[in-house]
């Protein structure tokens, strides 16, 4: 059975979750919406529209009109640029991707971000945009926790979902993985707790890409 790896981006390959948390919080405050920051953190990784809608429905019992959701997303993108300049790859991220390539194990990146937001951090990973299988929010109708991004990524690789691992830091990655019939591998590097990821269905949980690389044989990464 040939394994393939479908990676989330933020919090999984690059250390950018906390910057996204602060940028979403700023965007919501600018729109006059006050939410506790931990609630924003727990929604990172979802599509931006869904994140905004869910936060408001859960905490204020209100639905936003589409124009306001669009505005919050634009404010987030603007605030994020300010925080994004110091974002770095997570320990072992480049080495993990290089090891998979060298072992001829197919891998792809599937992110709920739009290309505009994802490009600068993808560049820190030294990604060759012409060669790497990459799916962003722009290419699918629904982002996570819907499975579309991972299904599209597997299609780009030409691998079957049932042979693929999804690697992500968020509960939403694990839920999307299960809907896509992939196995989910959780990483703690986005700030979720181990048990949260396990309860969302993670097959295994590691600290970060470096720790996953060290244990790659546990998840079919035969080298």
């Amino acid at each position: 059975m040939q394994t393939a790896f479908l990676f989330d981006l933020d919090g999984t390959l690059v250390d950018s979750v906390y910057q996204h948390v602060m940028a979403w919080t700023e965007a919501l405050v600018t729109e006059g919406i006050e939410l506790s920051i931990w609630r924003v953190h727990r929604k990172i990784g979802m599509s931006g529209g869904l994140l905004t809608n869910m936060l408001l429905r859960e905490t204020a019992g209100m639905n936003l009109d589409p124009a306001r959701i669009e505005r919050v997303q634009r404010l987030h993108a603007k605030a994020y640029v300010k925080h994004a300049k110091d974002i770095k790859p997570l320990p072992g991220a480049r080495e993990l991707l290089a090891a998979l390539t060298e072992s001829k194990i197919p891998w792809a990146i599937a992110t709920s971000s739009r290309m505009e937001t994802a490009r600068p951090v993808l560049e820190t990973l030294g990604i060759d945009f012409a060669r790497v299988a990459l799916v962003t929010r722009d290419e699918v109708e629904h982002a996570k926790p819907d499975p579309d991004l991972f299904v599209a990524a597997a299609n780009k690789l030409g691998v079957a979902m049932e042979h693929a691992f999804v690697v992500g830091d968020a509960v939403w990655d694990m839920l999307a993985a299960r809907r896509a019939r992939c196995l989910g591998v959780g990483l703690l590097s986005g700030g979720y707790g181990q048990e949260e990821l396990e309860r969302a269905g993670a097959y295994r949980v590691y600290e970060d890409p470096a720790d996953l690389l060290l244990h790659l044989d546990e998840v079919g990464g035969r080298r």
Copy 2:
């Protein structure tokens, strides 16, 4: 049996954990120390010296000399001021403290921060500094996860440790509570997962101060 409540401050009464995370990260980067941000998050609530030392020992296997630890702490305090201006009380924090006061249930605040750092956020809570039992890092030899802060807070109130609940958002609050022979009540508002707090010994876990107020009868807050 008369109950008393000993509160942590950051992430428990005020929404300031993520600002501390970013400030510690900036301070460490300025000192040339690169650490993943989630690792910093998981140490918030400890004494600053211990936090710096533990992060480095765990990840780089190195001990810092005291002068450098002192410098990182000063850099954190400086960076935190920049992030602190928008910090707000967590939902229900003022109401919870007012309800306890009204019911003549003793309560105190015990924080690993120094007064210099804690004062601005205490002010957002409308604390009367002349009347409230308050213990900061300045008054004890060891901060959390040592029990000194909570022991000092119970002493100020004149209550027995065995009758007190410690309310906190961090694993370090729960560990310090157990060492002090208090029961720990965990809050999710600092960004830890429910299971992490439970595994550290939390007697009960609530979302935030508003949720604790709603369930106060479960933890002896008879009104």
